[in-house]
């Protein structure tokens, strides 16, 4: 409490701008000019961005090959749980009408697969995936342990349901010569996921690190044998595994499978589709700075810009009309 020189005046409130509610302030005023020009500028911006987006999205080439029906026999085979590790191959020839320039990305796309179920998302063990405690399966119900009580690694419903179709792209030069298109497995995960969030338990030998655990019930192979070609891509840091573990937001989702530089394709793989009654397809797509081939953002921008302009012009019309009438009155 400040004391003022005169004792009797001490109850006089301080004369500060804050206490007297007299702080210097800028008063926001919606003037007609300001509003109209603001709207106009917004419209210009939106239209501009929208058109650019649409144009860039148009330049993207995308091919989707739905293999649900064609590979139905494989799915039927897989329906019987006994046959889960039997090989089944089906191939789909297709034609690429236009040249796909630049980097081509191969996605697998699932329809009606709910990766966002509450129990599903929770069913994973982060301490296990971080490599700190392989046997920590506490939050993994219902896939915590095998029937004999061995902890599952990686445990949980997400890991258990991993997408394990193998997709191979071949270039058919003619009916007899197939050239396998080289595919890159790297770079399909977030860098932080691959190097921070997912770690293998520390041990010289990967298989010994996972000793005392068992593979998830739906997996044909244990986690340390996921990639036979690249031993560094095994265990929890396997790219396909990491991609799968990032749960999708919606039941229809795409996940990045491979990157490749040239075109043509051949498919081999055995997905168990019918069990989840969804569909599966492979998507080949090029990308630009604005992502994939979707007109949504561009259209939304364009429409917003158009609506804003419409509003601007109608407001201006109303404004001018009213002003005219006001002049009329003031002349009277």
């Amino acid at each position: 409490m400040k004391t003022t020189p005169q004792g009797c005046q001490s109850r006089l409130p301080d004369n500060t701008a804050l206490k007297q509610q007299q702080l210097p302030a800028y008063r926001l005023q919606l003037s007609a000019t300001g509003v109209l020009s603001g709207f106009f500028a917004t419209g210009v911006f939106c239209l501009g961005v929208g058109i650019i987006l649409i144009l860039s999205a148009k330049s993207i080439k995308e091919i989707e090959i739905n293999y649900t029906k064609i590979c139905a026999n494989c799915a039927k085979l897989r329906e019987n749980a006994v046959n889960f590790d039997k090989e089944c191959t089906c191939s789909i020839p297709f034609h690429i009408p236009e040249t796909m320039q630049g980097n081509v990305y191969m996605y697998y796309k699932l329809y009606g697969f709910y990766q966002n179920l509450y129990g599903y998302i929770l069913s994973r063990s982060n301490s296990q995936l971080l490599g700190t405690d392989v046997k920590d399966v506490g939050s993994c119900a219902p896939f915590r342990e095998s029937h004999n009580g061995t902890p599952i690694a990686p445990c949980g419903a997400i890991a258990n349901s991993i997408f394990n179709d193998t997709i191979i792209l071949s270039y058919n030069l003619n009916s007899s010569i197939h050239i396998k298109v080289p595919m890159l497995r790297s770079g399909i995960t977030w860098w932080t996921d691959k190097y921070v969030k997912f770690r293998n338990p520390s041990s010289n030998n990967l298989s010994s690190a996972f000793a005392g655990t068992t593979k998830p019930p739906y997996w044909p192979k244990p986690v340390y044998e996921l990639d036979e070609e690249d031993p560094g891509n095994n265990g929890f840091i396997n790219d396909d595994f990491i991609v799968w573990m990032r749960t999708a937001a919606f039941p229809t989702f795409k996940k990045l499978y491979r990157r490749l530089s040239r075109t043509q394709c051949f498919i081999e793989g055995l997905p168990a589709v019918t069990r989840f009654r969804g569909e599966k397809s492979v998507v080949l797509s090029t990308l630009t700075w604005s992502g994939g081939r979707s007109l949504f953002l561009g259209l939304a921008y364009t429409v917003t810009g158009a609506v804003t302009w419409l509003a601007t012009f109608s407001m201006m019309a109303a404004h001018l009309m009213l002003k005219e009438r006001k002049m009329f009155f003031s002349q009277q």
């Binding site: 998302i121 349901s161 700075w289 009155f329």
Partner: protein
């Protein structure tokens, strides 16, 4: 309290047996009565402990928790918290438990502290020592140990420790003086009388020998009523029975004055004293905003429940297909499969409730409380509301009602001391038709000699001079003033010339003014000593008069008299009173001239009194004395007999003259009332004055203006016609104009079309309110209310206490009339918000009853200020408090409430939508940290700051243009329409966030390196857009950008970004999941995400901006026009001078916005692109769809 409860029970069950419970027998000094009298029945009474605290140490926690959880909101949060604890929910119990715990703890600490203070005060009171007599000796004991029947000794200036029957005093005549300032606010000294038969007991031994029993009624709260009987047992004689009345009763809380000591016997102790029974805790007042908030809460609760229900039902519909109920990739555990279906459904329902519970946030309550608490400081801090003269500033006793100040429709004001200064000044006197005006006193300089008088007309002759002196002596003698020689008086009522070191004390400021005025004319009242009144006459000689009798003032008789004997042995009766009560008793004197003068003075707003005298010869006096003695000794109907005796004595008087005292208006009272009326507030003045005086004051303070058509509803008029006729005639007059008008929401305006003022007096009012045999009273009441609604100003001349009692149930400590009027209006069918303002103890009931009670820190003590919600030093401060503070508070808090609901709709609705895409599995859209912090930190501070400092219109504009107040009355910003608009805006925004992000994510890659995003990125994108949108929405609503707004608004956005970066940037070891790791940063690394954020924010804000701009251009309200008015012009606008407002006749009065509109249109002409003036006219017709000009309406252009 417990004892009284027990007694009530006992009374109920033993009612048939005996009547003893209705009275109590007290054995004075605990001495048993001699045998033969009634049997000694020891009765149990409570001890003398006063308990005002609510809790004890032991019951604090359970009782306090119970009280807190009785609030519906707290209970709701508790339930949610418990549900989260019990069932498996997607959100952690911490998210709702922590805020709730915080709120409960802070409240408990605050209440505990307050109760501790009460305990301390109680203890101090209970432990102060009391003298009492035990076995003939004086003993000191703690106050709380006092028991009924103890004989207590009280010394001067001590407070009575309990209710006592007055036995004897140190004064010979068995009287004592008492002030009851702390009980009813009256600071005057009252005389109480000892019991006749015991007044001789002066020493402890004597009093110990007293052998008596007292029978009296059981305690009741009426301070002025007491009935009892004392039996004094003398040696072997039959007991002497004496009646006891309230004059024998000394109340706890009163203070002994001017008496050395007294003895009394305790009859009511502790919580049974009249003071304790009158102690009523102030009932909690709730503001209209709080009520609407509760209604909105219920709406949201319904929305919440229906959302949860919908989701539960849909979930089971969706799961009816087994592959959806349990897909192969998400199998259930064994225990889940075995759970009962209904139990599962119920758990799901609860889980959905918990998921969506954030729609009703705890933080809203905290923010509202904080806003009210901190906001109230702006009143306290306001320099303009600080009164330099008294050194008093405004006091806020409750911060719950801040916004109610912006909603007031009726102001009830006391006149004396509130509108006026209650600083009476002797203006003039009229003796025998000659008018005397004392020289103006300048700076307290008084000219004591006769030259101080200005004669208006010719000098009187010698006999006139005699009369003149007699008149002055009469004024000097006929009063009940006490003289205090030292300055120790409670209250600043000092004589202006403090050099003379004598201070007059009286309950009536008029008397003081008169005696001081006469002092200026040469006659000084010195003192009353041993029944001799001493006055100093013009020749500086002391005259002594023996005071024989005082015929005290009462408000029925409206006069008082003294009978004095001069030194020469002549006996005079001097009588002073209202003209209406003096003139009928007068037989001689220049009645007509004086009457004319009195009327003239009254019209000028002066308070007039007439003075008359009569000379009594000794025999006559003897007769008078006997008459009075007989009346005073009467056991029954004492009051009535005294009144009859007075009536007999005060007749055949000779009129001497009249006095006029001015009670000056407070500064700027007129300006304030005018501003209030312009703001559409109806002002009622309640006064005890004469109708003419009051009316003159009302004219002076612009309550009535020249063009006001006065309607009178007075006793005089009712005597001429029947009440029925008068009422219906008046209502016809009033409604003639507004008849075709639907008096829907703007009654204030229709009153302005033709200004009506109503004058009503107490008797008429009581007739209207009196229940009729045929039950038609409600009919009269309706008609009366109808008339009142159409009058912009009402003047109530107060009724006499007797009439008051007829009308209303007795209410302790109150003048029932004010209370009744306030209640009448408050409960009328439109439920308008009322404000009562007063300064005296008599206004307390009115202050307590009205929605908002304002106390003026006045001369009549602080009783009103203590009981009020707000206390201000002067009436003029009401203007700023209502028009500026109230208006701002209301705008702020209504935005706060609406915004809170809006931002939580935005928050929760996407969550609801997401359930449709995740199989109704209760998956949250946002991370737990976001769920918890959204209301606590990301969006809390901007709105809190907004609700503290926002000024949608500048303070100067608000003060200058009172009509802006009309824009917010009737809870305008919290109407259903506005609420629904905000809710739909919230839903729209939520749809934009959710589906915008949905279409972004669906079916495409949003990065340029092909990597994909998961569900947490989706949630984070929605959340980011949402935080930015709701914050920017507030930014668009902010009209007053101080550096703090910039700091908090941009700061909280920055905080959100910084928090998200940090939250996602580190692998937090204490978290069992790392789901947010790098999610935010990855999102920001994607170009389309940026574009989407910008687009979605723009799209969500666009409609609101568009709506605002269009409304402002096409149908601007007065407030919006004021916002756009260029400040430059307003600065040059002169303040309205009173003269100008007097001249403002019908056309402008008919068009309340006209003034500001004129300003605006001029401004528009100077500015090219402003909204056109035509909007003003549009707005008017919008507000009053069926508005038809009665006469002198606005120029009918295009209508």
């Amino acid at each position: 309290m417990d004892c009284s409860l027990v007694r009530t029970l006992v009374r109920r069950y033993c009612a048939g047996e005996e009547n003893w419970v209705d009275s109590r027998t007290i054995y004075v000094g605990h001495r048993e009565p001699p045998p033969g009298a009634d049997a000694y029945i020891p009765q149990r009474y409570p001890d003398n402990r006063i308990v005002s605290s609510k809790y004890t140490f032991w019951n604090f926690i359970p009782k306090n928790l119970f009280e807190q959880f009785r609030r519906i909101a707290n209970f709701y949060f508790l339930i949610i918290f418990l549900v989260q604890l019990i069932i498996d929910t997607p959100t952690s119990p911490v998210t709702s438990g922590l805020p709730l715990f915080f709120v409960i703890t802070v409240t408990a600490i605050k209440q505990g502290y307050e109760d501790w203070l009460r305990h301390k005060a109680d203890n101090a009171m209970n432990q102060c020592s009391v003298h009492f007599i035990q076995h003939g000796k004086l003993v000191r004991k703690q106050s709380r140990k006092l028991r009924v029947g103890d004989i207590v000794m009280v010394k001067e200036d001590e407070t009575f420790p309990c209710d006592l029957v007055f036995l004897s005093s140190s004064r010979g005549d068995g009287t004592c003086h008492v002030t009851t300032a702390s009980l009813d606010g009256e600071s005057s000294h009252k005389t109480h009388y000892a019991v006749q038969d015991t007044k001789g007991f002066h020493t402890e031994e004597d009093i110990d020998g007293l052998h008596a029993t007292i029978e009296c009624e059981q305690p009741q709260p009426d301070l002025y009523k007491f009935v009892g009987r004392i039996n004094v047992y003398n040696d072997l004689n039959d007991p002497v029975v004496r009646p006891l009345g309230s004059e024998n009763l000394l109340l706890r809380g009163a203070t002994l004055k001017n008496t050395e000591k007294i003895f009394g016997v305790a009859i009511y102790t502790g919580m049974e004293t009249k003071m304790a029974l009158n102690y009523q805790s102030k009932s909690q007042k709730r503001s209209a905003v709080e009520k609407s908030m509760n209604v909105f809460l219920i709406v949201y609760l319904c929305i919440l429940i229906s959302k949860a229900l919908i989701n539960t039902v849909l979930k089971y519909v969706w799961q009816s297909e087994p592959f959806r109920d349990e897909p192969w990739y998400n199998q259930k555990t064994e225990s889940e499969r075995q759970r009962n279906l209904f139990l599962r459904a119920f758990t799901d329902f609860l889980a959905f409730m918990v998921l969506f519970n954030y729609i009703i946030p705890v933080s809203m309550y905290v923010t509202v409380e904080m806003q009210k608490f901190f906001g109230s400081y702006f009143i306290t801090w306001d320099e303009e509301m600080f009164d330099e003269d008294t050194g008093e500033g405004p006091v806020v006793n409750t911060s719950d009602l801040n916004e109610e100040l912006g909603q007031v429709e009726y102001v009830f004001t006391d006149k004396t001391g509130t509108l006026t200064e209650n600083n009476m000044e002797f203006k003039e006197c009229c003796i025998e038709g000659h008018v005397y005006v004392p020289h103006a006193v300048c700076n307290g300089q008084v000219l004591p000699d006769a030259s101080g008088i200005d004669m208006i007309d010719s000098s009187p002759g010698v006999s006139g001079r005699e009369r003149e002196e007699l008149f002055f002596r009469a004024i000097c003698l006929c009063h009940t003033i006490q003289v205090k020689d030292d300055d120790e008086v409670d209250g600043p009522r000092k004589s202006p010339d403090s050099g003379k070191s004598c201070v007059y004390i009286s309950s009536s400021p008029d008397e003081v003014a008169l005696v001081e005025g006469v002092q200026r004319l040469g006659f000084t009242f010195l003192r009353l000593k041993n029944n001799y009144m001493e006055i100093l006459n013009r020749d500086n000689a002391i005259e002594r008069f023996e005071l024989l009798e005082i015929l005290s003032f009462d408000s029925v008789r409206r006069r008082m008299s003294v009978i004095v004997k001069s030194a020469t042995g002549e006996i005079y009766l001097f009588c002073k009173g209202a003209d209406s009560s003096i003139f009928p008793q007068v037989i001689e004197g220049r009645v007509d001239q004086i009457r004319a003068r009195v009327e003239h003075s009254a019209v000028e707003g002066l308070r007039t009194l007439c003075v008359a005298y009569k000379r009594l010869i000794q025999e006559e006096y003897e007769g008078v004395r006997k008459l009075l003695q007989a009346a005073k000794m009467a056991l029954q109907d004492r009051e009535k007999k005294l009144a009859e005796a007075y009536e007999q004595i005060e007749k055949d008087l000779i009129l001497l003259g009249a006095t006029a005292v001015e009670d000056r208006l407070q500064e700027k009272a007129a300006d304030t009332i005018e501003a209030l009326q312009k703001a559409g507030i109806k002002v009622w003045v309640l006064t005890g004055d004469k109708m003419e005086t009051a009316a003159a004051t009302c004219y002076a303070c612009k309550l009535f203006r020249r063009n006001t058509q006065l309607l009178e509803l007075t006793t005089k008029k009712i005597e001429e016609q029947s009440l029925h006729d008068v009422l219906f005639e008046l209502s016809k007059t009033v409604l003639r104009c507004s008849g075709g008008l639907t008096r829907d929401n703007f009654s204030g305006l229709s009153a302005d079309v033709h200004d009506y003022g109503l004058i009503i007096d107490g008797a008429a009012l009581s007739l209207i309110m009196k229940p009729q045999e045929d039950g038609s009273s409600s009919n009269y009441r309706e008609v009366f209310l109808e008339i009142c609604r159409n009058c912009s100003a009402v003047l109530c001349c107060r009724m006499a206490p007797l009439q008051k009692a007829q009308v209303h149930a007795p209410c302790p400590l109150s003048l029932a009339s004010d209370w009744g009027i306030v209640k009448l209006i408050k409960l009328s069918k439109e439920h308008p918000i009322t404000l009562a303002i007063g300064d005296g103890a008599n206004d307390v009931s009115m202050i307590l009853e009205a929605h908002v009670g304002v106390g003026v820190v006045g001369k009549e003590g602080r009783q009103a200020a203590r009981n009020s919600d707000y206390a201000i030093p002067k009436f003029k401060h009401l203007k700023k408090m209502l028009l500026v503070h109230g208006h701002l508070y209301y705008v702020r808090i209504s935005e706060l409430v609406q915004y809170f609901f809006y931002k939580n709709v935005c928050f929760i609705f996407p969550q609801f939508l997401y359930q449709f895409f995740c199989g109704f599995s209760q998956q949250t859209l946002y991370d737990t940290a976001y769920l918890t912090l959204y209301n606590i930190s990301f969006t809390s501070l901007p709105i809190l700051l907004y609700s503290l400092v926002e000024q949608h219109v500048g303070i100067d504009t608000l003060r200058r243009d009172p009509s802006l107040y009309r824009d917010v009355t009737k809870n305008a910003l919290l109407r259903w329409r506005v609420f629904i608009y905000w809710t739909f805006l919230g839903v729209f925004d939520a749809l934009v966030f959710f589906f915008g992000a949905y279409f972004m994510f669906e079916n495409t890659t949003v990065t340029s390196n092909g990597q994909i995003f998961g569900n947490w990125t989706f949630g984070t994108l929605v959340f980011t857009v949402m935080v930015f949108t709701v914050t920017l929405k507030l930014a668009l609503d902010t009209h007053y950008w101080t550096w703090m707004n910039h700091f908090v608004l941009w700061g909280s956005l920055l905080f959100y970004v910084a928090f998200s970066l940090l939250w996602g940037g580190v692998v937090w070891p204490f978290l069992s999941y790392q789901r947010m790791y790098y999610v935010f940063i990855q999102m920001l690394s994607s170009g389309p995400a940026w574009l989407a954020i910008v687009l979605l924010i723009t799209v969500s804000l666009l409609p609101d901006v568009l709506k605002k701009v269009l409304c402002q251009q096409l149908w601007p309200s007065a407030t919006e026009r004021a916002q756009n008015t260029c400040v430059r012009w307003q600065d040059h606008l002169p303040e309205l001078t009173p003269l100008a407002s007097l001249q403002s006749l019908h056309p402008s009065a008919a068009w309340p916005g006209s003034h500001s509109e004129q300003v605006t249109s001029l401004c528009w002409e100077s500015k090219e692109h402003e909204a056109p003036a035509h909007g003003a006219r549009l707005s008017l017709s919008r507000r009053h769809p069926s508005w038809k000009p009665c006469f002198g309406g606005p120029p009918s252009g295009d209508g």
